[in-house]
Amino acid sequence: MTYLFMQSITKRFPGVTANDGVDLSVERGSIHALLGENGAGKSTLMRILYGMYAPDHGRIFLEGREIRIPNPRAAIQLGIGMVHQEFQLVPSLTVAENIALGYEPRRNGLVDRKTQRRQIEAILERFGFSLPLDKPIADLPVGIQQQVEIIKLLYRKAELLILDEPTSVLTPQEVEGLFAVLQTLREEGKTIIYITHKLREVKTICETATILRRGRVVGRLEVAAASEKELANLMVGEQVVDQVFPRSRQIGQERLVLKQVSALDDRGVPALREVNMTLRAGEIVGIAGVQGSGQSELVEVIGGLRPARGEIWLNGREVSRFSPRQRRQRGLAVIPEKRKEQGLNLATHIQENVISTRYYKPPFSGWLTLFTRPAEQFAGRILHEYNVAAPGVRSMVKNLSGGNQQKVITGREMIDHPEVLVAAYPTRGLDVGAAQFVREAMIGRRDQGGAVLLISADLDELFAVSDRILILYEGRIVGEKKPDETTFEEVGLYMTGHLHAG
């Protein structure tokens, strides 16, 4: 029996049609895969279902009745719950407090902890979980935190659970645990939509699948009747020819060398483990890995924003103890991962954003004074050379589109032809044209003899522009491949820890 039916959902954003007449129907008591690459429109569709976006077109039916979902609270009341990739948990509160948060049973206006506890324990028992209810979330591993998220939905009486790439943060053992949990949920009659781009997981746990590509449904099928290859072809589609760039012709001397570099993440857990890598002039090295494999920490360590053990050499000089600015003075440029938090100051205009890495030098400033004229000219050059669509250099950065914001950052970091460029997810969230522009800029830099380290979650992109791909898994470099000599599948096996070099 069809539990959920989303009918010809269309959602347009400026420049992008994220969902184009998408149909989705899910049976009660099944695990349905929503399969597609990054940017295929999976998250948009689910955000519509969860009440975070309003669709431009289309209708949603739950058990045959048409419903409207203006906000997430309404979705929860309808029994729809979502586990986001980034958990929505309060680290300092206990497991039990997190589960009940916002929906605490009350008596005489106060939280009724006894009832709350009883209700949670009943759920745990019914679904066969065992969780340390009195421990603070911060002390628990990610896999357990995810279980807390799931219990939280069950506590809110969710019938339909949306899991957004649930394994991207898990270790292989934790993935096993998650699958067991999902089996139980299915047996208890819950319906699950499983968002992923990992075929193996679809084969393992899902019964039916809807495959999205570029905002459209390209297939709906019984998983048992389809081969992985079939699924992959549907998902990836035809290789887009103009996406592949010529490989590097001339590789020069070593520009960036990491020797035995280890670092901790914000929680104090090892995030990088004895990473060795060499980046040479005239090459683009891609870093592949599932989310949270140490990519963010790698960028921060190279940039000098996170302390690390080991040695970092830049242009033949050890810079392990150098400040971010000193490293930049030695030829490093960084496109940070978080555009709005790290890459830009949204409270000011383009001009002040593009001088942030060079304002202290002539001609931008004298001994004490900051000059506006050179900054204005420089910003104008960036607008021009990087095709930033903005009314002027004094336009507020927050009013620019994501693509133009990214071009501002790209221009700031690349216009001086840095010898070493570290680019973290530089095309994330951009439309096709803007993404292509940024990729071409990196290729251009490489062809002029620059060394580029590209961190990306998009395998297409990594295969299209990289000369070598390094695979990061749990903070280690587990493999190195030339894109022309490997496949998505092989890299995928490295990314998930199924293959190791050597």
């Binding site: 400026p14 986001h84 980034e86 940070p336 000011t348 942030s356 004074t369 900051l370 133009n404 969230g429």
Partner: protein, 366 residues
Amino acid sequence: MQAESSQLEPTPSQPPPLEQTTPRLSPVAASLLRTLFTLLIALLMGALVMWVSGKDPLQAYRALLQTSLGSRTAVANSLLAATPILFTAMAAAVAFRAGIFNVGAEGSLYLGGFAAAWVGFTFTDLPAWLILPLAFLAAGLVGGLWCYFPAVLRSRLQVDELVTTILLNYVAILFTEYLVNGPFLVPGVANAMSPQVVPAARLPRLMPPSQLNASFLLALAAALVMIYLMTRSKLGYEIRMVGDNPQFARWSGINVAGVIERVMVIGGILGGLAGAGQVLGVHYRFIAGFSSGLAFTGMTVALLVRNSPVGALLAALLFGMLRSGSATMEIMTDVPRDLIRVLEATIIFFAAIEFGSLLWRRRRER
């Protein structure tokens, strides 16, 4: 709602926001309007309080205006009252702009004031041209150092500067009180005062019989320097970037810890100079508890003008008017000077909207 933070995360399918092209009020005009609105509300609130307690608000405000601007001496007295506020408002504005909550200027004011007094009553043989700069130098140095300590705790160890500076203020206030009741007790004089500074260490009066003195000119100069610093200098750019988005500043290679330290030390120096100005220009000695919250008045001013340095200069003068006018108003009408506190409190209340967002940002940054 539990979904909010993930809504803000950029994801592949997230839309680019719309380009905004609607014309807006220029930022300067907008902030001026907001400031005037806040002041107007405050005056209305004050009028309401007076009306409720059976006084005539119009008469009171007329008296206030008269006694703050009505004569040469009245103007001079307003400027006199504005002098320390100029220093402390700039100290507060520069810190707030960097996202730093430095309350330590009050402590610096006491310690700087005492340092100036100490120079003034110790080096009795020095000529005025030497002892005055020396006294101000000592005050600035002591004031700056006093804030350097919490600054380092904040920038290196992430110890909340709001907490440390509030607590250190008590240390400074009580320590100076101890000094003038113990080691520097003057026999035969009412206690809690230091000896008088020598005549050479007294700042010249500008418009007698008002006590307005040369420290006003120094305050004005300091304010102009601060305006330049915050709007035109490299450090000012760094302060603004750190204040707007410390993460961005760090990724760009700006030494965030260094900026925070400098901002807090500058606040301390300004506090110290304010104290010295009061001691050498008005009291001619250190008196325990002489400030009664001048640094906090400065913070009110900075909040009112949302940390605009030019605005702080103008608003400090306005607050000087209110302060000096209120004293005479009390005599001329039967409206107590506490009314002015009501006005200031109302201003704080409305400016608190900004205050709240500042605190919010502080928390997020950690």
